[in-house]
């Protein structure tokens, strides 16, 4: 029965995500694996948003609420189908090539990684510190009481360990799982995040597939999902994997949009940016970086007025989506880690002596630690090789995003009021996990220029664009 409930919750997220995909990219034909991966990720963000809004008006997540969400999505599908069109999955299978057997070890490694993450997640209850204190605790609270009735909870300073003003996507994702199960179960409660991890594997495959031959796509996907830092965090119930996953979505679609994608890509990039914002505090910086990147590269985009019109509309829609959370968060006391409050020139210049230590740690954990599966080295190497040949515009957009993300994290360490050494030890690897998908995409876009995609002529054309 718990397995059935968990599967039903995954199915709900998938279906809601598909309806959203139709809303954003109606009438477009997208590859089947992209529709599957993106639908899962969209639903994994949309359902917590809906549960949060309902909680604000006094509705606690329950099975009835989940059924209501399903029926509402079903009802929305008809007018979408009638007036806008639905996204039809395109079956782009090509004839097998001699190199396809290389997919097998990649596939085995991907399956083994998913099994490992699931086994570690389901073997123990919430044991990771942040998973219990910041995310799991609030998930349990929200599954019992609506936010509208929690004024005292959010103003209880002795519960500061739960970071009371942190974003709430992951707690509501977990509260939804509790609602589906009909009980608070912190072992099975991690299923929502595992669902996102599985969709992430499909999404990475789908993202890279238009660029590379099938066997290479398998290897890149295996690299991305089996990195030890991913295995370490994906099943522990923290918000780091969801943030990495949503950031992967925003970075990919933002890049595609900038280098000549569709309006659907713009909407997807905007929605995933909003999801980042609602997942972790770092997501605020990532959403702003996405906006700056779009504006900066937009000057070189095709029909510039249309690009900036789309940028304006999607930015306003993102703001509207986030408005309830922004207003709610504004009403909370910012008691412990108020990073925006420390962001001023005096603090930055006063702490510049931290810079050598921080750069040293970044260097150590990016380039001398195998936990990232050497993805940093591979991305940089491929980018440099691409520079010698025909650098992909998309790879440079992604490289800009990555540099801006790392710079934002460096800035956060510069201004933090926490003990620096302890904070770096506890958090830096997780911050690098957020950036990992961008490095994977840089690698894929860069080697796509030197590794011809011979098994699909259409894909080769896409890569050349």
């Amino acid at each position: 029965m718990p397995l059935l409930c968990t599967a039903a919750y995954g199915g709900l997220m998938f279906f809601v995500g598909y309806v959203l995909l139709c809303l954003f990219a109606g009438r477009e034909r997208r590859p089947l694996c992209e529709v599957c991966g993106v639908s899962g990720l969209l639903g994994g963000a949309a359902v917590p948003f809906i549960l949060f809004w309902l909680s604000l008006v006094g509705v606690v997540p329950s099975r009835a609420v989940l059924v209501f969400i399903f029926l509402a999505a079903l009802a929305a599908l008809y007018p979408l189908h009638r007036f806008r069109g639905i996204v039809k999955p395109a079956w782009t299978a090509t004839r097998p090539t001699k190199s396809d057997w290389l997919l097998l070890p990649s596939l085995a490694l991907i399956v083994w990684s998913i099994y490992t993450v699931a086994a570690l997640a389901y073997k123990y209850p919430l044991i990771e510190w942040d998973a219990v204190s910041t995310w799991g605790f609030k998930a349990k609270v929200f599954s019992l009481t609506p936010i509208s009735g929690l004024h005292d909870f959010f103003h209880d300073y002795s519960l500061n360990f739960s970071h009371l003003d942190y974003p709430l996507l992951v707690p509501f994702l977990t509260a939804g799982e509790y609602a589906a199960l009909g009980e608070v179960n912190d072992t099975l409660g991690k299923s929502g995040i595992l669902f996102l991890y599985g969709c992430y594997a499909i999404f990475i495959y789908a993202s890279v597939r238009p660029l590379l031959p099938r066997c290479a796509v398998g290897a890149v996907t295996a690299l991305a999902v089996s990195a030890p830092m991913v295995l370490r965090w994906a099943g522990q119930g923290t918000a780091d994997m969801p943030l990495a996953v949503f950031y992967a979505g925003s970075a990919l679609y933002l890049t595609r949009w900038i280098v000549g994608g569709t309006t659907g890509d713009a909407w997807l990039a905007a929605f995933f940016s909003a999801a980042c914002f609602f997942t972790k505090n770092e997501g605020l910086a990532l959403a702003v970086i996405n906006l700056i990147t779009a504006a900066a590269f937009g000057w070189a985009a095709r029909p510039r007025p249309r690009f900036f019109r789309e940028l304006g509309i999607t930015s306003l829609a993102t703001l509207f989506l986030l408005l309830p959370w922004i207003i709610f968060r504004h009403s909370l006391p910012h008691i412990d880690e108020n990073y925006p409050g420390h962001l001023n020139l005096a603090t930055i210049t006063g702490n510049l002596n931290r810079l050598p230590y921080l750069l040293d740690r970044f260097n150590e954990w990016m380039f001398h630690d195998p936990d990232s599966n050497y993805i940093w080295q591979l991305a940089l190497g491929a980018l440099l090789l691409g520079l010698c040949t025909r650098a992909s515009a998309a790879a440079w957009v992604l490289f800009f995003l990555l540099l801006a993300q790392l710079a934002a994290y460096l800035l956060a360490y510069l201004i933090t009021p926490m003990p620096l050494g302890d904070l770096v030890f506890v958090t830096m690897k997780r911050l690098l996990l957020h950036a990992l998908p961008a490095a994977v995409l840089i690698f894929a876009y860069s080697i796509s220029k030197i590794l011809p995609n011979c098994d699909n002529a259409a894909s080769t054309a896409a890569a050349k664009s």
């Binding site: 190199s99 970071h163 031959p213 066997c215």
Partner: protein
């Protein structure tokens, strides 16, 4: 572009080079080798990593849950940590993790270490818990049924004992 790289890059760039050719094959196998070696290297040590980050408390999660659920069966409790040497690397995380896990397990009941106006800092070292000696009115208002003390023994184990509400 350095001249010595040109043949290699041309080999890659050549439209005639099939994806299953030797360079592509070598690249893919190298990638997979990286991934396989790394992926298999890590997970067996994962629990140790998790355990270190909570001062060894992960092995006691079920014990902490059961203990505090039993202690709060009829109301809320006060919790104190006694004789914890917070200069010791493991003890601060262990005490804080026990407080956090106990708070999680018993909710909507409460485990109080301070009143709601007192900030428990997010520190990694030092004693995060201020001394708390609540007034009788506060104890009544918050439905406190007892004071639980977690005492660190000299042999490294933790002893728990409870003073019921009537004897406070």
């Amino acid at each position: 572009m350095p001249a010595f790289l040109r043949p290699i890059i041309d080999r890659f760039r050549s439209p005639a080079a099939p994806a299953s050719g030797p360079p592509a094959f070598a690249l893919l196998m190298t990638l997979l080798l990286f991934a396989v070696v790394n992926a298999f290297r890590h997970p067996p040590h994962l629990l140790d990593v998790l355990d270190q980050s909570t001062g060894g408390a992960t092995k006691n999660v079920k014990f902490v849950d059961d203990l505090f659920l039993k202690l709060t069966a009829n109301g809320n409790i006060l919790l104190r940590f006694k004789n914890f040497d917070y200069s010791h690397d493991d003890l601060q995380p262990r005490a804080t993790f026990e407080y956090i896990r106990a708070s999680y397990a018993v909710y909507p009941k409460r485990v109080y270490v301070a009143d709601d106006a007192t900030l428990i800092p997010q520190a990694y070292t030092g004693d995060p818990f201020p001394g708390f000696d609540p007034a009788p009115d506060w104890i009544d208002q918050h439905h406190i049924i007892g004071l639980v003390t977690a005492e660190q023994a000299t042999n490294g184990t933790t002893r728990y004992y409870e003073i019921p509400r009537e004897k406070l």
